[in-house]
Structures are given as C-alpha cells and as structure tokens.
C-alpha cells in the first residue's frame, strides 16, 4: 500500500508539506464510509445530468465534470492506484479523443446523410439525422438525436480530460512522495 496518493507518515515531518494531507486517508473511518456511500450517487447524478440535459439544467460539460469529481473523490480517499485500477490512464487518454470524435462524427454523418442542393448536407446540421422535416424546416427527432449525441461527446471528453489532469497532478505528487 506504499503506492497510495497519500505517502507514508514519515513525510509529515517534511517542511512545506500540509501535514493533514500526508496522513493516509483510507484509514479514516468517517471519510471512508461517507465517500463510499456518496460516490455511486454522484456518478448516477452525473448520468442523470448528462441524459436529462435537454429537459433540466445541465448538459455534457456539467455531467462530465460531475462524473470526474465522483471518481476523483474515490481516488482521494482510496488512493490513486485503486482509482487507476478502475479507470486506467490508457482509457482516459482514449476517452479524451473519443469525445471529440463523437462530436465531429455527428457532424460528418450529417454531412453525408443530408440531401442539400449538391447532394450533400451541412456539417452538424442535425435535421439530416431525422426522417421528417416539419413545417418550419426543422426535424424534431433529428435535432433531438443530434443534441443527445454531441452532448455525449462533450461529456466523454470533459470527464476524461478532468480525470486525466487529476492523474497527472496526483501522479507527480506521488513520485515525490516515494523518493
């Protein structure tokens, strides 16, 4: 367990290191129990914000940040290595790019599915994703599907990005703690 986010207690005597942060948080009963109870609900709420963003406040960005925050809470209490066992760095790296690709992919799909003047649609024109254009030139189902998909792309990129930044910061502190 020496590979935890919070290094062993001998670090506590080092100058310039916040003493409280150097204690092993996993050993604190209240933190452990409360965080274990909270994390699933934070993640569930993030998914709710993600897929309910067209009805209530929130959307991909907020959902992504919430999802990352829930996982980071787990990492803070149980250690970086435990968190990386759930979500390896490789997944985070792929996720950051995947979200942008989903977003861009919706745009390209609209480009090819659309039937404009020259046989091609417009980039990110969600009307092309539907089947029936309404009387005002807007396809309700296409727009809904497009918004849902691009929000998903935003959510994936933001959550992976936030988590990755946390990995980098925490990993740096870890390297120092071991030396």
């Amino acid at each position: 367990m020496s590979d935890q986010l919070a290094p062993p207690p001998r670090e506590a005597t080092q100058p310039g290191v916040p003493q409280r942060m150097r204690m092993r948080m996993r050993e604190k009963l209240i933190l452990r129990v409360v965080s274990k109870a909270l994390v699933p609900f934070i993640l569930l709420f993030a998914l709710y914000v993600q897929f309910h963003g067209d009805f209530g406040p929130g959307g991909g960005f907020q959902a992504g940040v919430l999802f990352a925050a829930g996982l980071i809470l787990y990492g803070l209490i149980f250690g970086l290595s435990d968190l990386q066992a759930v979500i390896p760095l490789r997944v985070v790296e792929v996720g950051v790019a995947l979200g942008v690709l989903i977003y861009g992919g919706v745009g390209v799909a609209a480009l090819f599915l659309g039937r404009g003047r020259e046989g091609m649609g417009n980039f990110l024109d969600y009307n092309a994703l539907g089947h029936h254009v309404g009387e005002f030139g807007v396809d309700a189902h296409g727009q809904h599907l497009g918004i849902l998909l691009v929000e998903l792309g935003v959510g994936v990129t933001v959550s992976a990005g936030m988590l990755g930044i946390f990995y980098m910061f925490a990993g740096r502190g870890l390297k120092r703690g071991q030396e």
Binding site: P57, G99, Y126, Q143, T157, F169, R172, G173, R176
Partner: protein, 203 residues
Amino acid sequence: MNTVLVLILFGLLLATAVVIARLTDLFAAAMLTGIFSLLSAGLFTLMDAVDVAFTEAAVGAGISTILIIGTLSMTSRREDQQPLRLLPFVVVVLTGAVLVAGTLDMPAYGDPEAPVHQHALYQGYLDSAARDFDHIPNVVTVILASFRSYDTFGETTVVFAAAVGVFLLLGGRRRRQGTRLSQLDTAPSRSPDDARPGAGEES
C-alpha cells in the same frame, strides 16, 4: 425574501474574498476559494441562471479546488509575508474602481428594455426554440448544442487540447530510450535533491 438572500450571499462573498486576500495559509485559502465558488453558485441560482450555477459549483468548487490543493502538495503551505507596497495597491484599487464604474452603465438586473433583449437575434433564437424545439424545454441546451453547435465543437476541442497539453507536460511516461529527453532525465545531476521533480519550487 429573495433580496435578503442575495444580500446575505453578497456579504459572505465579500467577506470570503477579503479573508482570502489577507490569509498567508495557502491551504485555508484554497479551501476558501472553493467556498467562494459555492457562494457564487448560490447567487447564480437566485438569479435564475441554473446552468451557470451548476457549472460554477462543479468546476469552481469541485475540480479547481482539488487541482489547487494538488499543486499545493508540491510547494510550500505558507505564503511569504510581503510588506504592503504602494504601487500595486494603487493599481488594484484603480482597476476595481474602473470595473465598478463600468457596471453603473449597465442596465438593471432583469430589465426587459436591456439592449440584449431588444436584439433581433435574441428573439429569433427564443421564438425558434419555443416553436420548433418544444420537446426540448431547456433553451440553453438548444442554443448551445444546436444553434451554436460549431462553437460548442470548438469548446470541446479546447478541452481536448488542454488535456493533451497537460498529458505532455506532466505525463512524462513512455519516453523511448535514446531520445534527447530521456537522456536529460537520466543525466547525473549535482545532488540527489536536484533530480527530484519540482525540487526547485521548494527552495
């Protein structure tokens, strides 16, 4: 009731800001910045800007506090005491005065005659959102993800670029042997202390 809540939140915001500026304990200051964000989120909620409040609470109070504390673990916990210098103080007070003077010209909160509500584009967006997007009640989502999806695509790319930048700067893994960077890393240094990443920030 609403006004009383707004005044209380503003008072707490002001008090938090003054305390952050005066504290030399950086750990406490980091926690207080989180509280500052939470208070502003409450204020945004009272002003009916729930989407903004949501983002402020998640990013300001959540992620950025964690990142500040993460940075703090690599540096000193206390700020060096600095004597009050006159020139920076005057510059800060003047900038603040200019900002306050700027707000005096702004339309009152919720004023229907405000220029932003008179613009043709605003009416066009709201009319279309109410008429064509009645199955998506959140106008903010409609504007961000559909009307202005190019902008949101750009923002997502910015998040992507920022994350990749941090990976490149702080990641430092999977460097191939024989490249210049890895030679720099393994080069013998003057003392073991120098080889430690971030040793310079401490001294």
